[in-house]
């Protein structure tokens, strides 16, 4: 085929070069156009209100989420805010949408609207606008709430609660605003102050901000010293405050606590009980999270092990679980999610996908199991008659599927104990299945009949059978399990 621009047969080489160059130019042009088209596929000019921009942001993030492989199978810890970061394309698009608005557009008389504004301003990097809104809102409010609908402490607490949903988390801003309740003139009710400290405590723990964690821990200790007897007996203190203080004391006495654990389980329990006794006051409550209880033997109908990359079913174990003389990690686990549901909890794009006894829990267990080969890791489960939306399954089939899923697919180096769930059916025509509580679940309620053991609940059991710590396993609690395991395994024999 001849090129149209006057080429003759004698100039074939030159012609070919020109032809190729024109193709390359065409490709570059087309690609350029496509990139432009891609960036213009969303016509943000049609969105007239800030609510529409927020909706747009939600839609874009949800679209990205669906494509995101969340859980990298690695030994490194991935922060939840890193997992939740939005792409630049989303931020840029929303920024264009919001470009027509300034902080002056915010209706400060509305009790909640300003929270949406500051969230989206931080999301798109307009920190100064967000801070302007916060400052104006705060300057219109006073600490003393007598006769005032919205006090300054309400705003501080609401702003802190909102900003933890921003990605990346504007941690400096949160700390700055939260610290306002510690100013000399601040008047902040106990429940609000505890709520703010608890939020900062959990966030700084998750973000590994030890400086802020220490600041909040010291503030909690200071707060406790100033409380009256009535305030200490209040519901807020009893249900949240004293546990936040225990975490603060654990942090402040971190080295001593781990030293005591390296010495012996008794020394560890004795040391923690020494300040828990001060915190609990007159009540006889034991240390939370079943710490100090004696772990009961696990009973099961089906046992599976994983050895040399093979999952095998065995009739029974030679030793009982928890195995005496070994450090045990006993995890109650059920399959309530699969890889189709990478985001757990709320379906909102802002929910933290860090919790839930699903894939992140599996990876945490595997990491711990591989890091501590002498750890006796046991997964405890029971049969339900189905998994997800499968066909109804026999107990044998279900136990086998679970073993393949946890020990095979997810390669958790554990022993799997599956108990056949006993149940009865309500009389006809109802016929619903009512499960009877199994001995394992009863034994690990430790005398509290109302307690339930959620899926993912893990119990770290020392060599003498006493429980050192229990929590739902996930990448955050994994760090706590890890440091305790490290101390126990470094114990001099």
């Amino acid at each position: 085929m001849r090129y149209k621009s006057g080429c003759r047969s004698v100039t074939v080489n030159l012609c070919s070069i020109r032809f190729l160059v024109s193709i390359i130019i065409a490709i570059i042009l087309v690609n350029g156009l496509q990139a432009q088209v891609k960036s213009k596929t969303i016509d943000v000019s049609k969105y007239k209100t800030y609510e529409e921009c927020i909706s747009l942001q939600n839609r874009l993030i949800a679209r990205e989420r669906r494509k995101l492989p969340y859980w990298k199978d690695s030994l490194e810890y991935i922060r939840s805010d890193k997992l939740n970061e939005y792409s630049k394309a989303v931020t840029d698009t929303v920024a264009i949408c919001m470009s027509k608005f300034t902080s002056q557009n915010v209706n400060l008389n509305n009790h909640t609207e300003y929270l949406d504004w500051i969230t989206i301003f931080y999301d798109i990097g307009r920190d100064s606008d967000a801070e302007s809104v916060i400052n104006r809102k705060l300057s219109n409010a006073v600490w003393d709430t007598i006769g005032v609908v919205e006090g300054r402490h309400n705003i501080v607490a609401a702003v802190v609660r909102s900003l933890v949903r921003v990605r990346p988390i504007p941690w400096d801003a949160i700390v700055r605003i939260a610290r306002m309740v510690d100013s000399p003139d601040a008047i902040c009710p106990l429940h609000e102050r505890i709520s703010i400290y608890a939020t900062m405590m959990s966030l700084s723990r998750e973000l590994n901000d030890t400086l802020t964690h220490k600041y909040v821990a010291e503030k909690m200790v200071e707060l406790e010293k100033g409380l009256s007897v009535e305030e200490k007996s209040s519901y807020t203190w009893q249900s949240q405050g004293r546990y936040t203080l225990l975490e603060a004391m654990d942090f402040l006495n971190h080295h001593e606590m781990l030293d005591s654990l390296r010495k012996s389980p008794q020394a560890y329990l004795s040391y923690r009980n020494s300040y828990w006794a001060m915190i609990r006051g007159q009540s006889s409550d034991k240390l939370p999270n079943h710490v100090g209880e004696t772990a009961k033997p696990i009973i099961a109908d089906f046992w599976f092990t994983r050895q040399e990359d093979r999952v095998s079913q065995i009739n029974s174990l030679a030793e009982s679980i928890p195995e005496a003389g070994k450090v045990n990690l006993i995890v109650f686990l059920e399959i309530i999610c699969s890889r189709n549901t990478p985001v757990f909890g709320s379906s909102s794009h802002r929910s933290l996908p860090i919790s839930g006894p699903c894939l992140p829990a599996y990876y945490s267990l595997r990491r711990l199991g591989e890091r501590y080969p002498n750890l006796k890791l046991t997964i405890v489960s029971h049969t339900d008659g189905y998994i997800g939306l499968t066909e109804p399954l026999t107990p044998e089939q279900e136990a086998k599927h679970k073993s393949q899923w946890w020990l095979g697919t997810h390669r958790i180096p554990a022993v799997l104990a599956v108990a056949e769930q006993k149940y009865f059916r309500l009389p006809k025509p109802d016929e619903r299945r009512i499960d009877e509580p199994h001995d394992n679940s009863l034994n690990y309620r430790f005398g509290n009949p109302d307690a339930r053991i959620p899926s993912g609940k893990a119990f770290l059991v020392d060599v003498d059978g006493s429980i050192l710590y229990s929590a739902e396993i996930n990448p955050i609690t994994e760090r706590k399990f890890n440091e305790l395991l490290k101390a126990v395994t470094n114990r001099k024999q």
């Binding site: 492989p69 189905y386 499968t390 599927h401 025509p429 299945r433």
Partner: protein, 479 residues
């Protein structure tokens, strides 16, 4: 069936074959390929106001690959569009899972077959022209015009057909994996009014069969009722024995069926405030439903059979025969698959549908009137608002013709009433049950999982009822 208004079964099969050839093969594929046609005619103030003819095709593709799920639908059936919709479903399926995850274990995903339905089809509906219907209605509107009355109404004829197809996880055709169903429906209602003298008449009917719905008869009946109800007199509100025409019966119990239907057993057993929720069993921490309890008169039986050609249901997974109320006892509630699997450990859901049949009695409407000393004859009920969810107490109004019965005879038209009544109370106070007939029931069927948009039939067959102590709270000015 061969008409250009719908795709033929072979044309639907051809689309299915193309889609199967465009799929990557592995994993479960479910297809729902359907076509629909509807024609409407409406008139107001004795003149036609709208006429339409709509045709639509729908292709729904569901793919399950490596435990990822993808759903896509399209209304274009050219080769490029079919390729696109299959590719989109597969992309969504692959993206919904985690591609970095190992895939060496799968839970057994059930292969869903299609439960057979009863096709309700009438060729005559497909050949009835809108002009023909318009001419029939025109003759009545002329009469209304001559008498100084205003008539309005609505006529809709429609048809659907659907081809379902399912494979197993290896891409092979599943057992019972193909099903085909088709339906026709005609519905017509007419209202004639004399605004100055307070007269109003209404008539309506729906069926899958053209012969059941005569446009001219409906229009004539509405005209007659309007003339008969002119200059209604005011009577005192209170409790009356009422003779409910089948349409009024349907208007009343439709809310009961709707509440039983929506969310079915799952909802009844999750809220003690639900009308079919009995109470919380404290020892089990579970809510018991009223299943097994007598809730209405022992002569009441309401059911739906998928083989009942007068009711019909298009083929879909999880639809079985159901008897909601048998001899007054709440026998069964609709169940979804999650509920039957989790709570009952079996694999046979019974999904909701809008059609039902209430068993008829031996009386005729004339006999009911004859045996009534003093009561009211009700054409239909309207504007129902739920007052109490626990008892289904509702407030609403009578419409388009209310007559006083005295000593076994209809004596005069009376002004409309507002009523405050529960279908459960009314069905417990039945004196006589009449002959059942198909009524006008235009409620739009719900969408189920994107697979059967507007495909569920909505056929209702109920009898006339004579009910004592029906509560009317006030007269109203509306006609």
């Amino acid at each position: 069936m061969s008409t250009s208004k719908l795709l033929t079964e072979s044309e639907l099969s051809e689309i299915r074959d193309k889609l199967v050839s465009y799929s990557s093969g592995v994993g479960i594929t479910r297809l729902a390929i359907s076509s629909s046609w509807s024609s409407e005619l409406s008139w107001a103030r004795n003149s036609p106001s709208m006429s339409s003819d709509r045709r639509e095709v729908s292709v729904v593709v569901f793919r399950n690959i490596k435990n990822g799920l993808g759903l896509a639908h399209i209304n274009q059936i050219d080769d490029a569009s079919l390729k696109n919709v299959m590719r989109l479903a597969e992309e969504v399926a692959l993206n919904s899972g985690d591609p970095k995850e190992p895939d060496d274990h799968r839970f057994p995903i059930p292969v869903v077959g299609w439960d057979g339905g009863a096709s309700t089809w009438d060729d005559k509906i497909m050949v009835r022209s809108i002009e023909e219907s318009a001419n029939l209605i025109h003759s009545t509107t002329v009469k209304a015009w001559d008498k100084g009355l205003m008539s309005s109404g609505y006529l809709e004829t429609k048809a659907h057909n659907i081809l379902n197809f399912a494979t197993d996880e290896f891409g092979r055709e599943a057992p019972d994996g193909i099903s085909y169903g088709e339906m026709t429906q005609i519905q017509c209602s007419a209202t004639v009014r004399d605004a100055s003298r307070g007269g109003s008449g209404w008539a309506g009917k729906s069926s899958y069969r053209l012969a059941d719905v005569s446009e001219s008869a409906i229009a004539e009946k509405a005209l007659d009722r309007a003339v008969q109800s002119i200059n209604p007199v005011k009577v005192e509100p209170g409790r009356y024995t009422v003779v409910l025409e089948p349409q009024a019966t349907a208007d009343l119990i439709d809310h009961l069926i709707l509440d039983v239907t929506i969310m079915g057993r799952r909802y009844a057993e999750s809220s003690a405030h639900h009308v079919m929720g009995l109470a919380v069993d404290p020892s089990l921490s579970r809510i018991r439903s009223k299943m097994g309890s007598r809730i209405v008169d022992s002569r009441v039986t309401i059911s739906h059979s998928i083989k009942d050609s007068n009711l019909g249901v298009l083929p879909m997974a999880g639809v079985r025969d159901i008897t909601l109320i048998e001899n007054g006892v709440l026998k069964e509630l609709y169940t979804d698959r999650g509920l039957v699997l989790n709570e009952l450990n079996y694999n046979k859901p019974n999904l909701e549908r809008n059609s039902y049949r209430m068993e008829e009695g031996s009386s005729t409407t004339e006999e009911m009137i004859l045996s009534t000393k003093r009561g009211l004859f009700v054409t239909r009920l309207s504007g129902m608002t739920l007052v109490d969810t626990r008892s289904l107490l509702m407030s609403g109004v009578t419409r388009d013709g209310l007559w006083l019965i005295e000593e076994g005879k209809i004596v005069k038209a009376v002004r409309n009433f507002r009523f405050l009544e529960s279908p459960l109370y009314a069905l417990s106070n039945i004196e006589e049950i009449g002959q059942a007939e198909r009524v006008f029931h235009p409620r739009q069927p719900s969408t189920f999982m994107g697979f059967t948009p507007q495909m569920l039939l909505s056929q209702v067959i109920v009898p006339s009822l004579k009910v004592r102590d029906f509560s009317f709270t006030s007269t109203i000015d509306a006609i």
